[in-house]
Assembly symmetry: C2
Homo-oligomer: 405 residues x 2
DNA sequence: GTAAATATTTTACCGACTGAAATAAATATG
DNA sequence: CATATTTATTTCAGTCGGTAAAATATTTAC
């Protein structure tokens, strides 16, 4: 292998082109080279070179275009390119309070298998954290008769503040230590690259790669679970802020000196729409003994309980206020409201949507789309997997360039 | 002139490098080539080529380094590079309700002269708008015995929604027509390139080029005049949102179904901190006959009027709430509060700052700086000039590449 | 005066991208 | 069926930006 004298700038440009081609194929599905060239405003020659590399790396493949003969058009037929789904296996993990959800996906993001690993301790030391993850991964891989060694990458989602570029966790509810650098621990314990990210950012990634944000440049993803999270995608990239931690949408204030929030402050959005906030409200009615989740309250409201309905309605009003503020500030292409449970139906009612629309300063251009995405309970794990796939793609393209010597 | 076969990508890369060098020199002042190379992570050879071009375009110049001999260090002395302030004259205009403020600046942003041009009509037709601007420019240039022909560029700031990339005004309080394309009108009437932008974005530009945002990558500029505006700089670039209109910070909601705002909605931040909101509050006290501006209320409060003080305090509380929301969402490096008058002192009190800090979810990293910038009354015009200088720089670098044939 | 140190410029070269030509693979046409 | 036409892809020579290394410039140290 000769030593390459390529300038770093050239390399970066080359990698960027490869990645743009790859992302275009991921977004559009089966496309011929000529369309990639025109879509990316580049020359067919470049696309030939880039796709040749991606094929040799096993990231994409040519497929037979059955529909070709039907097209009835003259000329050499287009050769369609597609992701090579079989090429890699990626694991996505979400660390929650009582369990770890794991999903194994192929390179296209298709679920291969999934698993739930119960947790005794919601908070673990970094060492326990990683070894528990390893155990969870082993169990998951065993399900398909495989081993952890087969994984191309592992992506881990946690609640909290993470500097993903350094696998550095400033703080997480799942980990006892603060400001811990997971790089060496992860690379020592796991046989493949591993990545840690904030969970809301991961869901944003999932929407971008596989979900309702496919192909969009500027959009926001509001995640609803027990609390409210936000992932920001600007110019096609996750925006992480200066300190690398996620946007704290749930703790934006919607009421001056308002309701007390778990974070200790007053008037946070989460103090009005979070699960615990709803349950707290219900204590006033003296009914909360039987109520355990927001879904219970929803059932109660649906069966005619006016107090329950009013609690949910108020949450919806506050949520609408918060979302309209997001639109006023970010002016995004689209806002995606993503949640796993049925329990956020009260945040997607016509009344809430109307409130959002009425809270946005109108311009001539149409309002951003507000799309609601009801995920299964693997939402967070899928988000992690999406991020993993993206990071593995970047790694593979880099390797490609390094080996090109 | 030979026809160049340069690929568009090469050209873009070249221009980007030239501009990065130019911006570095603008930010750092007098710097030697070697430091530019290390700061921009590029090779000295590239810097030599880039600076040679910029010098030939008259954008920068070499200066004698008097302090050289004192340095007492061996080796060839550094040759310092600096902006060539004399190279271009740029006009910045702010169109307000009752007047146009104009400032002429050199390429370094130094004020050459300024002028105020009274307006009869706050709202003008596009044709009148441009011809009034032309008249105002002529008067201004006459002040220094020059003519409009000498200007390298004109930059115009208006309140409203502007797509600056197309000189397209969706809506502005200064213009009777909506959705007007000013491109042909401006290029026909003015002898130099002209640019229109939203005024809050312009102030953000001024902070970035000359002010407290110098050298920063991610920061927010909150502008205070009659209302409240916001300019967003992310990754060194103005963020304009999907529809190209400014962020509507003044119309983010800080109270569910709160005070009525000029925009017709309820609970907008501006409905609590805008001039008219303060004056409205004072009507309740029966005192507002004598009060015309927020500054009057401030005087009143200072001389012991508790009602006036309470009106201002409430505005401060709401403002603090709004700003803490900005920090929670954007996690910026720095927030700059910029205003022209003394009338926003009540928004910069220790109490307000404490409220902001208390409203931000704390992480280990330090809170973003909150810096207050008291400008003279030419703030907006200077902002326009800053934008003009930037746009002219881009144009000149493009010309350079075109002539390089 | 010569050596050493540091800044800048020159030179030879690399490599990403491109346009144009060549090639490939289909249909249309007679 | 052979040939022309059309369209997709690949090959190839060339351009250009950036770089490393060598050369040059200009200073201080001794």
């Amino acid at each position: 292998m000769l030593k390459s004298k390529a300038s770093p700038i050239s390399l970066e440009q080359r990698n960027a082109t490869r990645l743009r081609v790859l992302e275009h194929i991921r977004t559009k599905g089966a496309v011929p080279r000529i369309e990639i060239a025109s879509a990316l405003q580049t020359s067919p020659a470049t696309v030939t070179a880039a796709t040749a590399d991606l094929i040799s790396a096993g990231l994409i493949k040519e497929i037979e275009s059955e529909a070709q003969s039907k097209s009835g058009k003259r000329g050499r037929p287009k050769v369609l390119l597609q992701l090579d789904g079989q090429s890699f296996l990626v694991a996505g993990l979400k660390i929650a309070r009582q369990m770890i959800s794991i999903i194994l996906v192929d390179f296209e993001g298709n679920e291969v298998t999934s698993h739930k690993f119960p947790l005794d301790n919601a908070r673990m030391s970094p060492t326990d954290f990683v070894s528990t993850i390893q155990k969870a991964l082993e169990e998951t891989c065993a399900k398909i008769g495989g081993s952890v060694g087969q994984l191309a990458g592992v992506s881990i989602g946690v609640a909290g503040q993470v500097d993903a570029s350094r696998n550095f966790v400033h703080w997480s509810s799942s980990i006892t230590e603060r400001n811990f650098d997971f790089r060496s621990l992860l690379s020592n314990q796991l046989p493949c690259p591993a990545f840690i990210e904030n969970d809301a950012n991961l869901v944003a990634k999932a929407e971008q790669l596989f979900g309702l944000g496919k192909g969009l440049k500027n959009f926001l993803v509001v995640t609803i679970e027990h609390g409210v999270g936000l992932g920001i995608v600007l110019d096609g990239k996750l925006y992480r802020g200066e300190r690398g931690c996620g946007a704290e949408f749930g703790h934006t204030k919607v009421q001056l000196d308002g309701a007390l929030c778990q974070c200790g402050q007053r008037g946070c959005l989460e103090a009005y729409v979070g699960d615990y906030a709803l349950l707290r409200e219900m204590t006033v009615t003296g009914q909360n003994n039987e109520l355990k989740t927001a879904s219970d309250i929803h059932d109660r409201a649906f069966s005619g309980d006016e107090r329950a309905a009013s609690v949910l309605a108020r949450a919806g009003q506050m949520f609408g206020l918060g979302v309209s503020n997001l639109i006023n500030l970010f002016d995004p292409e689209c806002i995606i409201v993503s949640g796993t449970q049925k329990s956020f139906e009260h945040l997607c009612t016509d009344e809430v949507m109307a409130r959002i629309r009425n809270g946005v300063i109108s311009v001539d251009a149409a309002l951003p789309d507000i799309r609601v995405h009801h995920w299964g309970d693997l939402m967070w794990a899928k988000g992690a997997a999406a991020y993993g796939i993206e990071q593995i793609s970047i790694l593979k393209v880099k390797e490609l360039a390094a080996n090109a010597s």
